[in-house]
Every structure is written in structure tokens, then in C-alpha cells.
Amino acid sequence: MKEREPLFSTKNLNLLREPLNDSNPITVQVLGICSALAVTVKLKPSVVMAISVVAVLAVSNVVISLLRKSIPPRIRIIVQLTVIATMVILVDEILQAFAYDVSKQLSVFVGLIITNCIIMGRLEAFALANKPWPAFLDGVGNAAGYGVILIIVAFFRELLGSGTVWGYPVFEKLGLYTTGYVNNGLMILPPMALIVVGIIIWVQRAKNRKLIEEK
């Protein structure tokens, strides 16, 4: 009989670890950029968005993985979409009931989690061919890889664009404005998110030589 693999074997842990760095969905695979630009003006909506994506991707991955032997291949994309859409609607309803302000800020972008390529991509590439536990870890890992970038981008955009962190006026308390400092309005606009993501990719590649393609 085959020996049972431990829950947190190196292979399983790599499912969690790799999307955070080596195969990060945003900075390496360049997926899910649209929402990364749209919701990162402030830290709070970004964190809520990150948690929502973790919930949607982890649960969808597990559901698809459980059903993987009974899903007819001819309609598998439709089944995946149905599962994702269900999860997204649940998240949206819950946010509207218990985090109304944030749900208004995120507006259409909660609904647009459905179209986030990271999610369809993981269901199609991983969950359909793997057991539920690895699929769960893969879902959490990839969504966290997405979320981490979202939070880093939002941190800098909120700090430099509005001078606050999580709504707390950092620069004002430091007395920076009295020295003539002015918030950078460009940071609030979507183009700066793209530039911040670009800088993150640059830093990541400088540190992680594996990511640099051979000429």
C-alpha cells in the first residue's frame, strides 16, 4: 500500500510558497492586473478584496477538485464558471450585509472576481487534476500571492497619494505637511498602480535570478 503523504509535505508547502514568489500570479504570470489597478487606492478595500479572492479561490478549487471525476469534460468550463459565480455572489451578499462601506468602494470589482483569470486558470490547470487538499493549498497560495501584491501596492498608493495608512493620517502626525510636502495626486489614479506593480516586478527580478530569462 502506498504510504500516505503528510499534510504539510515539502511538495504541498511548495504549493503555498511558490505563488508568493517564483510563480506569483500578478508579477510573474501577469494575471488579474485589472482589479489590482482598480481597488488599490486604499489599503482597506485591498485587504477585503484579497480576503474575498482567497475565499473564492480556495473554496472553488476544493469543490472542483472533489467533483473532478464526475465533471463531464465537455461542459467543464461552464461548471467551473458556475462554481466561481456562486462563490462570488455569496461573498458579494455577505459584504453587502456586513461590510457595506467597503462593498460600495469595491463596487463592481467584487462581481468581477468571476472574470479574474487567476481563478479560472487555477481551476483548469490544477484543481481538475489534483486531490482536494493540494487544491486547497494551491488556491490559498495563489490567492495570497495575488493579495500580497495588492496590499503592497495599496500601501504605497495610500501612503503617497493620501498620506494615510488604513485611514490613519501618518504624514499629518509626522508634521510633514508643515514642511511644504504635498500628496502626490497621481498615486490615486490607476496608471500609478501599473507603475508600482512594475517597480515590484523589477525589485523581485533583481532579487530572484531564477526569473530572468536566458538570452
Partner: protein, 241 residues
Amino acid sequence: MKTFSNTYIFVFSTVMVMLVATLLSFVAEKLKPFQEKNVEVEKKLDILRSVDIARDIEDIKDKDTYVEEAYEENITKSFVVDATGELKEGVEAFTVNLKAELAKSAEERSLPVFVYTEEDGTEIYIMPLEGKGLWGPIWGYISLEEDMSTIYGAIFAHAKETPGLGAEINTDWYQSQYLGKKIFDDTGNFTSIRVVKGGADPSDPHAVDAISGGTITSVALQEMMEECLGNYVTFFKNKSN
């Protein structure tokens, strides 16, 4: 790869869809009271903000209670009028669905009015607005001083206007333009407030600046004000005489 018969696929999709539908309707039904409460509190907050109360709402921990209390305290009256300015009995102003009312013919509309009483007893009248922006609905509240012409406060909101362009209608700089403007001219004709592309003359009491790049939303806002406030013209005239 395993193959599946058409019957299997058909049954699989039917069962899946039914399960999903049951789950979603169950959750939606359970969460509805919470969501409706949120919408109600937001509406009260909008009404309060149109008379410049609750500006410090961001610093309040328990927003729901704060809004409920502030609303009870400040909004002293609310009533519904019809197009001839007569009071309509038996209709609760807060629950009137303005969008549905605007779909009716002018004579049948129920028009809600909320009254804020200042400390010195001056009454400020608040009227709701409802219209269509570029991508979705826009709405707002306008409050008028006792002369029924001078704007005391204005707030606008939108569902999905373009950020940085049309979405600017819910910002302070845009809304504050409306303060002190007049919706009637000296001879008593209803002028509403025009939104002027390329900048309004600051001395013009009936116009404000449009938003650059947000022309469709700006025009929609102008039409919304003209249509919604237009319904009240007789009421305003009766009141100011």
C-alpha cells in the same frame, strides 16, 4: 479520458443549477434584513449630509446608532406632496420609491419632502433626486432655505460613474459649488441649476461648472435636477408666498 453520455451531462447540469439556485436564494433571503438596514441607514445619512450634519461620520465607531439618533433629532418632519403642492395623506415619505414615482404621470406622483429644523427654528426643506448617469443610476438630495429658492446643501451619489470623471459628482469640491445658488430667477421662473461646460460665470446664480471629461454625467445631473425639482415647483411657490 472518460466519456460521458449526453443524458449524464444533462442531468449533471440540471442538478448543479438547482443546487446552486437553492443555496443562493436561501442566503439572499437570510441576509436581506441586514442589507436593507444598511440601505436605510445610508439613506438617512444622505439626508443628514444634505443639510451639513454628520460631516464627522468617519470618526464615529457605531455609525448605525449615530445616524439613527441624528436623524431622529434633526429631521423633524417629513411629508408627501403631489404635483399641485397639496399634502398627500397616508404615504410615508421615507418609504417612497422615487424611481417608481418618476415613471408615473406627473399628476400621480408622490413627492417626498423632509424638513430639518435648525436650532433657531428655521426650517430647511430637503428634496430627493433620482436620475440616470452614464453607466448607472445617480441620485442625491437638495436642501432649500425658507425662500424655497436658495440652495442650502446638495449631495450627489452614483452607482458606477467613471472614477476621476463622472464619479466626481460625489466630491466636496463639486457639491459645494451648489451652495447659495438659486433655482428661481428674480421674476419667479423656475430655472433649476445649469451645468456649464467650460466653466460657469461665478456671479451666475443659476449655473455651476461641469466636470471636465464627465460631460454625460454632468448633463445627466442637470436633467435630474430639472426633472425632480420641477415636480415641486407649485409646492415651492405656494410655500414661499
